[in-house]
């Protein structure tokens, strides 16, 4: 059964008298255990789409079915309860945490709010989560500011999996990280997916990252979805000018030499 169906989603912003169609008429689906890579130039509306999906922004039009529920009509306590099933990892490895938080409090929040484990067992659950993302249990006592960027992103992943979600939205989740650390985080994400059957909506402007994790790729341009297809097909044989431009910008993606970057951009 399809996990997520987005139908004709639209969102306009008006700022300073200027109207921007950040997302226009986007439809897509996501299967359980699948990773959909969402790629597009800066300002193409990827984050807006992700934030609407996370119910951080209201949509202007369209519908979302998630786990058989009419996701956009949920509200209040019911919405908060169902949020356990859809989690998010943010790009900014520092800004995504309350500066006063400790590693333990970051991981305690989801366990407490969704009553996943009783209070007495939470320290053990926190240690298990830390262990699952490859961090020693002793990190629990640290301030979130006293761990490195890569470790912080591991903690963000631990927080996201704490509520046992079926979908995790990752908005540029590895873009702020060192290339060497980036690979390890991507490995961890793939492992978790194989282990728990989580679906990912992986937003990135970096096709090299998406190639490593995606099953399918969707390409956005100025708010519209211009191409969707299996990862290999989109990268090796892009149809839309937007996809061609994105692939042309990353020469190492293409193994055999082509006629060079297309200039029909």
């Amino acid at each position: 059964m399809t996990l997520l169906t987005i139908e004709n989603l639209s969102k306009r912003f008006s700022s300073g008298g200027r109207e921007v169609a950040a997302v226009s008429d986007v439809s897509l689906t996501l299967e359980p255990g699948e990773t959909l890579g969402l790629v597009g130039a800066s300002g193409s509306g990827k984050s807006t789409l992700a934030r609407i999906l996370m119910r951080l922004l209201p949509a202007d039009a369209g519908a979302i079915q998630f786990e058989g529920k009419d996701w956009l009509t949920l509200s209040g306590a019911e919405l908060r309860r169902h949020r356990a099933r859809m989690q998010m990892v943010f790009q900014d490895v520092l800004g995504a945490f309350n500066p006063r938080a400790t590693v333990a409090s970051v991981l305690d929040d989801p366990l407490r709010i969704h009553a996943i484990v009783p209070k007495a067992e939470r320290p053990r659950a926190i240690a298990a989560l830390l262990d699952r993302v490859g961090l020693p249990a002793s990190y629990a006592e640290r301030s979130i500011r006293d761990v490195s960027g890569g470790q912080r992103q591991r903690i963000a992943i631990a927080r996201a999996i704490a509520t046992k979600p079926s979908l995790i939205v990752l908005d540029e989740a590895v873009s702020a990280l060192d290339v060497s650390i980036r690979g390890k985080i991507l490995e961890l994400l793939v492992e978790l997916q194989e282990e728990r059957g989580i679906s990912y909506l992986f937003v990135s402007h970096d096709l090299a990252v998406l190639r490593a994790v995606s099953h399918r790729i969707a390409v956005m341009e100025t708010g519209r979805l211009v191409e969707t297809g299996p990862m290999r097909q989109v990268i090796e044989n892009p149809q839309s000018p937007a996809a061609k431009a994105l692939i042309g910008a990353v020469p190492r993606l293409v193994t055999e030499p082509t006629e060079g970057p297309s200039h029909d951009v």
């Binding site: 934030r51 996370m54 119910r55 951080l56 908060r80 309860r81 949020r83 356990a84 989690q87 998010m88 943010f90 900014d92 520092l94 800004g95 995504a96 945490f97 309350n98 500066p99 006063r100 938080a101 929040d109 989801p110 709010i113 969704h114 500011r145 927080r159 509520t163």
Partner: protein, 276 residues
């Protein structure tokens, strides 16, 4: 504790904290340092300073001890200043938080009231308030607070509006945290530090306003204040300038102490926020 360490590490903070600690000690122990009513007639009138060891700073026209007046005046200045600033911050926080969280019409309405209070010069407001209701310590405190709450209200609202958009608040919503918990655990504690740094400035302004009101004869007549001492001395400024100069120095030292303290506090807080 860490904040205190950071504070003392800045020269401003160390000096400011030193001055304020000394003033608080003087205010606390004023009845011990100089027993009895500071307004009572203690000796010969108009004794010059540094002549009689019993009255190191001399006496005024009625023979009241100037040193006793200054020591006890510290109590009035600090307590009125602190109480007024506390009241102003409390009102400002409530209004700013309500405006920032509620948004929409509530926000609009509250901010117009803030505008109105910011347009009226706060000293005139305090003057009018005290002249109408009458001079007593609580009225003076309220009058000063009324002129000082608008700035913290505006700052608190701006803080709330900016922090509401941070990723960590989005992350709290995503995790399903209740809006009340988001407001009080995620936003409020992070919105407070700049408002607290502002509070030192408000204390200094409140102390000056209190002195000015007393100078104009609108302070509580039953307590000794630096402002009323300066006003007393003004009539005989030529013959005995020290009567106005000593309470004036006390006032300047206090206000400078508060300003230095606030500078140090701002630096200490700023340094902390810059840390990775």
């Amino acid at each position: 504790m860490r904040l205190l360490r950071d504070l003392v590490r800045t020269p401003e903070g160390a000096i400011g904290l030193g001055i304020l600690t000394a003033l608080v000690l003087v205010a606390l122990f004023a009845p011990v340092l100089s027993a009895g009513d500071p307004l009572r007639i203690a000796g010969r009138a108009l004794l010059p300073p540094f002549t009689d060891p019993a009255f190191p700073l001399g006496t005024d026209r009625l023979g009241r001890d100037v040193l006793a007046g200054i020591l006890h005046g510290t109590r009035t200045s600090l307590s009125v200043g602190l109480a007024a600033a506390l009241a102003a911050i409390a009102i400002g926080l409530c209004v700013g938080l309500t405006a920032g969280f509620a948004g929409g019409l509530v926000d609009e309405g509250l901010m117009r009231v803030v505008d109105a209070f910011q347009i009226v010069p706060s000293f005139l407001l305090a003057l009018a308030f005290v002249s109408v209701i009458g001079a007593s310590v609580p009225v003076v405190v309220l009058a000063i607070a009324l002129g000082a709450w608008a700035d913290p209200a505006r700052l608190t609202r701006a803080q709330v509006l900016s922090i509401r958009e941070r990723d960590y608040v989005a992350s709290a919503r995503v995790i399903g945290m209740h809006p009340a918990e988001i407001a009080f655990r995620e936003i409020l504690p992070n919105a407070l530090p700049p408002v607290l740094a502002l509070s030192a400035i408000i204390v200094a302004a409140a102390i000056l306003t209190e002195a000015a009101l007393s100078f104009l004869g609108l302070g509580d007549p039953n307590v000794v204040t630096w402002g009323s001492m300066i006003a007393e001395g003004r009539n005989i400024l030529r013959s005995s300038p020290s009567l106005s100069i000593f309470p004036g120095i006390a006032l300047v030292v206090t206000v400078v102490g508060v300003y230095l303290f606030s500078e140090g506090l701002t630096k200490a807080l700023g340094g902390r926020r810059l840390e990775p």
